[in-house]
Symmetry: C2
Subunit: 147 residues, 2 copies
């Protein structure tokens, strides 16, 4: 089996195809990985989340990593890793257009994983439903594939 | 759909069942996620890797996060997130017993993802085959499930 680097175009195609991946953020040198649903418009990654540990950490340090996988078989798979920056899209006039873009991209697909829109009971406390959109601006990405 | 916390026993069972996940490490506040194959002996996570960015980062900062998923359907899934510490298992007498444990656990399964034992051509340079075992000691873990 040979594993090779993917081109930028191949990385972009995989991000456009997939709707589910993982995002990592950091606090005090400790990384934190969370599965998440997303949409990619060719330039940035859009998603949404309720306020929680992940959002607090990304507000304090916007450096994030996004990872996606497309595994067909042990000999035939692709993975892309994005290094980027978190940016919230608040409900203010200046972000209205980008929020609309995020809403359009995300509403076209069932982001079934994301607990943002479902009732979440954690430590016996029901979490408030207050999802917010965010964008990940891509600084750099790499991809590897086999097969 | 209700998402609930998993118990410690449920988290442990999932780590014992799965052989493939993702590990994140950090350099200068920038997280980095890599898919990896692993084995869990009930206490620690064992894996191996060739020297690369990931190993250099974990040597400098041993704080890591491991994430695993068991997705049956959109309504039936489990995920566990481990916060832990990376420790290399070098080829010295004091680590001989733990290296044997790692070898026994890992050799029983095809860790097909890991490029550690395959020829990797990256940026047209063939990467040296020099895999080393490591352990992730678990500081804390959380799990969520639906269905």
């Amino acid at each position: 089996m040979i594993i090779r680097d993917m081109t930028r175009a191949e990385c972009t195609q995989l991000l456009e195809k997939l709707r589910f991946g993982r995002i990592a953020c950091v606090e005090d040198g400790q990384p934190y990985i969370v599965p998440f649903g997303f949409a990619f418009d060719g330039h940035a990654i859009y998603s949404f989340a309720t306020v929680g540990t992940r959002i607090r950490w990304m507000r304090a340090n916007p450096l994030v990593c996004v990872e996606v996988e497309d595994i067909v078989s042990p000999q035939n798979w692709r993975t892309v890793i994005v290094f980027g920056r978190y940016m919230e899209l608040p409900e203010t006039p200046e972000f209205a257009a980008e929020r609309a873009t995020a809403h359009r991209l995300l509403s076209g697909h069932k982001l079934w994983w994301e607990p943002g829109f479902v009732r979440t009971v954690s430590h016996e406390i029901e979490r408030p439903l207050d999802p917010g959109y965010f964008r990940v601006a891509i600084d750099r990405m790499t991809g590897h594939c086999a097969g």
